[in-house]
């Protein structure tokens, strides 16, 4: 992948105030055209803040960005407001957990979609309406021409989520940012939305960054996955590789503590403790206080993010296939 569509390097995001919150602490990743990157991690680890940075959606006065974000040749962090306005929606758009936030409650969903189309594409009202109906139909909303006139609150959760996808895709973006769009849905509806996104992604050659806390969802949607902890990516790789052989003790712990099929009668391997306060990060590896492999080095310094053969990991004691750090194996044998 010589020329990725998205390239984020050493991104930092700090929110000001008397106790500054270091929400993102040096995040780097790339996403190719037509690739789906899952951004996985537990609540508060900085997934949404990272994602929203790609649209520069944080309150400008309180937010300090560092590093660089490049999307389709645009340098996001140095764009003017006018450039940002054109970039939002047309190059990059976003869907999230609560579709009611995407829509204005006083206009029909169809009208909002056709207005978005007219704003970004050279189409008159009639053509835009026809295109909006085509999109509503494409996201599998039954009786699309009739639903065009529906107000957001008149739709069920799953249908609203589909309408939001139609709105997000109405200006034919290259990158779709998805922030837990299926988290509030029943599993039966969630899988419908994931399959729809996968279909649309293939059809339109979209790149997607899909934020989730749910490993099962990440597996269904992602080509690659990046695992975040305390504002950093601590591990990254192809989804099968991460699930089959996690290299970071946190990833391993997260997988082990997730209840999957047929685990009855076994005791769960919980990770002790809780994630650190982002306003008061420890000096070394942020996971070290909870990590059974942690050494003095881990508590004192932050491990570098090292990449090898499509995998990346930030750990002084990264694990081999047996789930133990090579240094430990060496000592035992």
């Amino acid at each position: 992948m010589s020329n990725p569509l998205i390239s984020v390097s050493d991104l930092t995001v700090t929110f000001g105030g008397s106790r500054p919150v270091h929400a993102v602490n040096g995040v780097s990743f790339t996403v190719g055209t037509g690739e789906v990157l899952g951004l996985l991690g537990e609540s508060g680890c900085g997934k949404s803040v990272t994602l929203r940075s790609l649209l520069r959606l944080h309150p400008p006065r309180r937010t300090t960005y560092g590093g660089r974000i490049e999307v389709d040749g645009h340098d996001i962090l140095s764009m003017s407001e006018e450039q940002l306005r054109r970039y939002r929606g047309s190059v990059t758009s976003m869907i999230f957990q609560e579709p009611l936030l995407a829509f204005d409650p006083v206009y029909s969903i169809g009208r909002q979609i056709s207005e978005a189309i007219r704003r970004h594409r050279a189409m008159d009202g009639t053509a835009a309406e026809a295109e909006a109906i085509r999109l509503l139909d494409r996201v599998q909303i039954p009786q699309a021409a009739r639903r065009y006139h529906a107000y957001p609150h008149e739709m069920s959760g799953g249908m609203r989520q589909r309408a939001m996808i139609a709105l997000a895709l109405s200006c034919r973006p290259k990158l779709l940012l998805a922030d837990e769009p299926t988290t509030a849905l029943d599993a039966t509806v969630q899988i419908q939305i994931l399959l729809l996104l996968r279909e649309l992604q293939r059809e339109m050659g979209l790149s997607i960054i899909f934020v989730t806390h749910d490993i099962g969802v990440a597996v269904e949607i992602s080509d690659r996955v990046a695992v975040m902890y305390a504002g950093r990516i601590i591990e990254e790789g192809p989804i099968a590789g991460i699930i089959g052989g996690p290299a970071h003790p946190y990833t391993r712990g997260l997988l082990a503590s997730t209840v999957t099929q047929n685990m009855r009668g076994t005791r769960l391997e919980a990770i002790p403790g809780a994630p650190p306060d982002l306003a008061d990060l420890p000096p070394g590896c942020a996971f070290a206080p909870r990590c059974s492999h942690a050494s003095a080095t881990c508590l004192a310094s932050i491990p570098a993010y090292e990449t090898h053969a499509g995998r990346g990991v930030a750990c002084f004691h990264s694990l081999n296939d047996e789930g133990v750090p090579p240094s430990v194996t060496a000592k035992v044998s």
């Binding site: 039966t188 899988i191 419908q192 399959l195 997260l254 005791r267 809780a274």
Partner: protein
């Protein structure tokens, strides 16, 4: 462990073979419209003729899409709301009838823990006092109630000296849910209904709380009803599982049997909607289309029929009765009843 507690555990009256809870024909309809003349718009059939049996010291998982009546069932059983109809028998004693178990005693024996760890705690009360509050209302002297509260904090993994004086907002979600569990335990209940109690927690913390629940169940001889939308967690923690659809039970049985051999088409669909976690076996087809419907004035016959791949004309005519298809395994589907006239019946 139970001997350490300052309050004696409620005694086992009926013996080990007597189910702790038997529910027959539980029903709750919420009228629509409400207003003075709004009586004829029909009703939400939130819980519509539900039968439940929970053996002692087991866990009954309850699953089904949102709106199917899981929380209403929990609220009816704990009498947060009044049922329209239905018989409740707690350890062999009919509840709320003359000569039976008084409601106050049921409330002590049957506790409910919700999903939202914040909403159920008073923001202006330290957690030590919040846990002591219930038993005090039930007549335990203040000093004993506090002693008991500190004991319970310790038991759910929160050091009383460090956490007892904190307020709910000074705790993480996982810690607050431990407080809610301690608060339920303070009544020395025999049955605890956990309504999505671990659903909002991060996986690493969820595992801690699930381990705690398993330990407490053994040590305190508890029985659980475990409501969750996470079918993997339900399989993990439950002995039996009950599947609800639009206010009714469509299938119930031993968890391993129902998961391995689901008989109701709805149960099959629910189970296949669970992501596999295997990148080589991604889901290729959706098991169900559309959103879960509302239980407003449900049509006659089988309520699942308009989403069912196996629906037949007869499904619109007959409301499927619950039939036995194995030991403790019952299903309400005409296909499970050879005499129903459904072409796929066996």
């Amino acid at each position: 462990m139970s001997n350490d507690l300052p309050l004696p555990s409620a005694e086992d009256r009926g013996g080990p073979a007597q189910p702790i809870l038997i529910v027959n024909g539980l029903r709750k309809h919420f009228p629509l419209g409400g207003g003075l003349f709004g009586g004829n718009k029909g009703a939400v059939h939130a819980v519509d003729g539900v039968n439940i049996t929970v053996p002692k010291r087991t866990t009954l998982g309850i699953v089904g899409e949102s709106g199917c009546g899981k929380s209403t069932t929990a609220r009816l059983l704990t009498r947060l709301i009044e049922p329209d109809e239905g018989e409740v028998i707690f350890d062999g004693e009919a509840v709320g009838v003359p000569g039976g178990m008084p409601l106050k005693e049921l409330r002590r024996n049957l506790q409910l823990v919700f999903q939202d760890s914040f909403a159920s705690l008073n923001p202006r009360m330290t957690i030590e006092r919040a846990i002591a509050f219930g038993p005090q209302v039930h007549g335990l002297p203040a000093s004993e109630a506090i002693e008991r509260s500190r004991h319970l904090l310790d038991r759910v993994g929160l050091e009383p000296g460090r956490f007892g004086g904190r307020y709910p907002h000074e705790l993480s979600g996982g810690q607050r849910q431990r407080v809610n569990i301690a608060r339920a335990l303070a009544f020395n209940p025999r049955l605890i209904i956990l309504d999505e109690s671990v659903s909002a927690l991060d996986k690493s913390v969820q595992a801690q709380v699930l381990n705690l629940l398993m330990d407490l169940k053994d040590e305190l001889k508890l029985t659980y009803m475990f409501i969750s939308h996470d079918l993997n967690v339900v399989q993990y923690i439950s002995d039996h599982v009950m599947v609800m659809y639009l206010g009714q039970v469509v299938e119930v049985g031993p968890v391993e049997e129902v998961y391995a051999h689901p008989r109701h088409p709805y149960t099959k669909a629910l189970l296949s909607a669970v992501p596999s976690l295997d990148p080589a076996r991604r889901t290729e087809r959706t098991p169900l289309t559309g959103d879960p419907p509302n239980p407003i004035n449900p049509p006659p016959g089988c309520r699942f029929r308009d989403r069912c791949p196996k629906a037949h004309a007869v499904c619109a005519e007959i409301a499927p009765p619950s039939v036995a298809v194995g030991a403790d395994h019952r299903v309400a589907c005409l296909m499970a009843d050879p005499a129903s006239g459904h072409p796929d019946a066996s």
